[in-house]
Amino acid sequence: MRWIWIDKFIEFQSGDHAVAVKNVTLAEEHLHDHFPGFPIMPECLLIEAMAQTAGILVGEAKNFKEKVILAKIKKCVFFDYVKPGDSIKIHAKIESIAPEAASTSGKITCEDKLIAQIELMFSHIDQNLAGKQFPKENFVFTDMFRSLLRGMVLTRPDCDTPKSEQP
């Protein structure tokens, strides 16, 4: 992950589900243009928020050993706008997980309002793409994102997470 688009996890059940929060602010410059006088969070960035939440959930399920890449947006329905000042919750759930891929479902809410329903597929790319080689280091799960999980995940002995981050 080269950038972080969610603020924190408030629930994390390994291999099952997670809930993350993102606070939306008018300081995000793209909102000035999307749209002038009517700032709303672009839907593609709602998908990104779900991809990060669900992607970390899928990665953690395999101890961050796999390179987890968003492979398919299976379904995406938007019900309402997200505006500056909103705090959105991203609820992700693993539906299926196999050695080579995972599928997730989830919703985005703002207070009690349903904002979106999003279903995604992730590929574990080392297990796919007909044996194509990728860099050895896990460029998906870099150190940058790990602060998000501090205190949320019980680090397993065989996990790559540094000891100092164990809760």
Binding site: A71, K72, K74, K75, E95, S96, A98, P99, E100, A101, S103, M121, S123, N128, L129, A130, G131
Partner: protein
């Protein structure tokens, strides 16, 4: 629980409508997943996951769509075509598929044509009614 072929086909059609975003009238029994319905590699995994849920079964990797183990074995492929032992392996691995046409010209680029709606229904019918 035994299911009739029609019931299985109906469920498979719904899975393919959802997974591939195609109309249900496009999903004829002889439609090929890649050629006719536009499936890509990740869609095969999506389809397997959806079938597992729809029929409450486990579908082991390589059982329904066993192309990978064939493609990665040099004994099975020569000059872009399946060898005799490759065809034999295909027959063993995909008893749910009609390879009578394919074996006349076993070009690996045409391997995708074997993945038809009918092949999925055959596979599920056998699997569901075996118990």
């Amino acid at each position: 629980m035994a299911r009739s072929r029609e019931e299985i086909l109906k469920e498979v059609q719904q899975v393919l409508v959802d997974a591939l975003g195609v109309d249900d009238d496009e999903i004829t029994t002889d439609a090929t997943l890649m050629g006719d319905l536009g499936a890509e590699s990740i869609d095969f995994l999506d389809i397997v996951f959806r079938l597992e849920k729809a029929f409450a079964i486990k579908i082991p990797r390589e059982e329904l769509f066993p192309a990978e183990s064939l493609m990665n074995n040099p004994n099975f492929i020569s000059n872009g075509k399946l060898t005799k032992s490759g065809l034999e392996e295909l027959r063993n691995k995909m008893p749910h598929t009609d390879i009578s046409k394919f074996q006349n010209d076993p070009d690996i680029n045409k391997l995708g044509d074997l993945f038809t709606v009918n092949a999925i229904v055959n596979y599920l019918e056998k699997k569901l009614n075996a118990a």
